[in-house]
């Protein structure tokens, strides 16, 4: 079901843990769904004086695919400018992992959402203009999180 690459990243995940000094966090997922991803970024500047993701890490509660996509999205994002990073698509994450089973594609979405959220939070805290794409994604994440909460409570009542 999982590609070799997914299993490799699951077994030896890159960039795991919490950065000692980070500029922002992106938190996505819901424990009721079995997937929670926290993504930490430290923003720096490149030779052209553009803001880049100087360092990045994650903490994830989730399945094999959630852990592998956490590893992969951070690998892809590291060193990229914020603009480039914000443009990363979940398909790229999945493809670079040699594909994901259909029922696990949502993990790659979660991973890019976490990254977007981190950048969104960074820009918002700084008071910078937030690109349209990030605003849209943020709204989507908020909406999902609300839906998850509803589902969670329905599941909880079921389990009595």
């Amino acid at each position: 079901m999982y590609s070799e690459k997914v299993i490799e990243h699951f077994r030896n995940p890159h960039n795991k843990g919490r950065l000692e000094k980070y500029s922002a966090i992106g938190k996505v997922g819901n424990i009721a769904c079995g997937d929670v991803m926290w993504l930490y970024i430290k923003v720096g500047r490149n030779a052209n004086d553009e803001e880049i993701i100087e360092d990045i890490s994650w903490e994830t509660f989730g399945c094999t695919a959630a852990i592998a996509t956490s590893s992969m999205v951070t690998e892809i994002a590291k060193g990229k400018t914020l603009k480039e990073a914000a443009a990363i698509q979940n398909k790229e994450v999945a493809d670079t992992l040699g594909g994901l089973p259909p029922v696990k594609m949502h993990c790659s979405l979660l991973a890019v959402d976490a990254l977007s959220e981190a950048i969104y939070n960074y820009l918002q805290a700084k008071g910078d203009v937030i690109p349209e794409v990030l605003v849209k994604r943020h709204a989507h994440v908020e909406k999902e999180s609300k839906e998850f909460d509803e589902r969670y409570s329905s599941l909880m009542s079921k389990s009595n």
């Binding site: 009721a32 509660f61 259909p102 969670y152």
Partner: protein
């Protein structure tokens, strides 16, 4: 592969050497079709009937009451749909919330066909309440189907009590005994139908059976040449059937000794694992199936625990249906009231005939490390 530790015997089991030896002649030498008139056919037929007799004996049943199928899923479908379509004008079925999908999904499908189904709740250990069951029986109740032992958490139901209630009320009672058959002694006095499968007790995959009490009429699922007394057509899988009978023979001969050994393992597993902080045993503390132990770990997702253990050559499974598209955790764990977070972090360890003490010890050394590793990369920190 020699170093691998297989602790997923409730998913399926390795086929025993004796079983393979019993099957071997039926591929190249005694390969006849049991319906054929000639000696090849007659010898195949005899082998099949001897196997049937052995299975019947294991249930104190008569040979006519054993119907071979290709799986317990098929046996469950045949029992439930076969009765539903047998022409009895009753349209209510009682089952539990913790059945295997080959019972649960059949019931849901029958609801679409106009049947009414009561899904009985269970208590925190996973037990159906016989009184509650008795109270839901109506004049319209066709069938009660309650599994003998649960495949995820190992809980054993009060089957003899339930079966007696059904008999008294004149309701047919079926039990999915896949996990219990050959593992613990069964109380079958008032049981009308029972499903089992070979591959859960060191027999081959692809053979199951339905015990069908004499006098109960079913409509077949598979029509055709009229095999199995017209109830299940298709050329009989003689090698598989012979292998099933051999596996059952061994299981019954070894039952007491094996059960003691596996109960010992289970005690050790529970003691050692629940000593890890933020863990919880799912299912019965006492009286459970001996081979199944299910434990939840806070802040860990079950699938990644299984995959991490796999890295160490240890095969286990998770109760959480992480592979299901809707991401909901195991219906069994939810039914026993497990909080969602804990339900996502469950691990099922199931032992078998081949499991050794050394394997259990090694597993118990590795597990805490793996749990630690996964908790470390989780955003939810457990203070250990």
């Amino acid at each position: 592969m020699n170093n691998d530790i297989y602790l997923d015997n409730s998913a399926t089991t390795p086929v025993s050497e004796e079983v393979i030896e019993a099957m071997l002649p039926y591929w190249q030498v005694e390969y006849g079709n049991a319906s054929s008139l000639h000696s090849f056919g007659r010898r195949a037929h005899i082998a099949m009937e001897e196997s049937r007799a052995r299975l019947a004996a294991s249930l104190s049943a008569s040979e006519r009451e054993i119907i071979f199928t290709a799986s317990a899923s098929e046996a469950n479908n045949l029992a439930i749909k076969g009765l539903a379509f047998s022409g009895i004008n009753k349209y209510h079925i009682i089952t539990s919330q913790i059945e295997h999908p080959s019972v649960g999904k059949v019931c849901q499908w029958l609801e679409k066909q106009g049947f009414t189904v009561t899904y009985l709740p269970v208590d925190q250990e996973g037990m159906v309440d016989p009184d509650e069951l008795a109270a839901t029986i109506t004049d319209d109740t066709l069938l009660v189907t309650i599994m003998y032992g649960n495949n995820e958490i190992g809980t054993v139901q009060p089957i003899s009590q339930i079966a007696e209630i059904c008999r008294e009320q004149g309701v047919i009672f079926h039990t999915d005994a896949v996990q219990a058959y050959g593992k613990i002694p069964l109380a079958l006095e008032n049981v009308d139908m029972l499903s089992a499968t070979a591959h859960k007790l060191h027999g081959p995959k692809g053979v199951g059976m339905l015990y069908l009490r004499r006098g109960i009429k079913l409509s077949p699922l598979i029509h055709g040449g009229g095999h199995e007394r017209g109830l299940r057509s298709g050329t009989e899988n003689i090698a598989g059937i012979v292998g099933f009978a051999k596996a059952v023979e061994i299981a019954f001969a070894e039952m007491e000794v094996l059960r003691d050994r596996l109960e010992g393992f289970r005690e050790q597993l529970i003691e050692t694992i629940t000593a890890i902080p933020k863990t919880k045993l799912n299912g019965q503390r006492k009286g459970s199936l001996p081979h199944i132990t299910n434990i939840s770990f806070m802040a860990i997702e079950g699938e990644s625990l299984v995959m991490k253990l796999d890295e160490h050559g240890i095969a286990t499974s998770t109760g959480s249906a992480c592979s299901s598209p809707n991401l909901e955790p195991s219906h069994v764990l939810l039914a026993i009231g497990t909080p969602i977070v804990m339900a996502h972090g469950s691990l099922r360890i199931s032992t078998g005939r081949r499991t050794t003490q050394e394997e259990i010890d090694r597993f118990l050394t590795i597990l805490p490390q793996v749990v630690e590793e996964l908790r470390e990369i989780s955003p939810f920190k457990i203070n250990t």
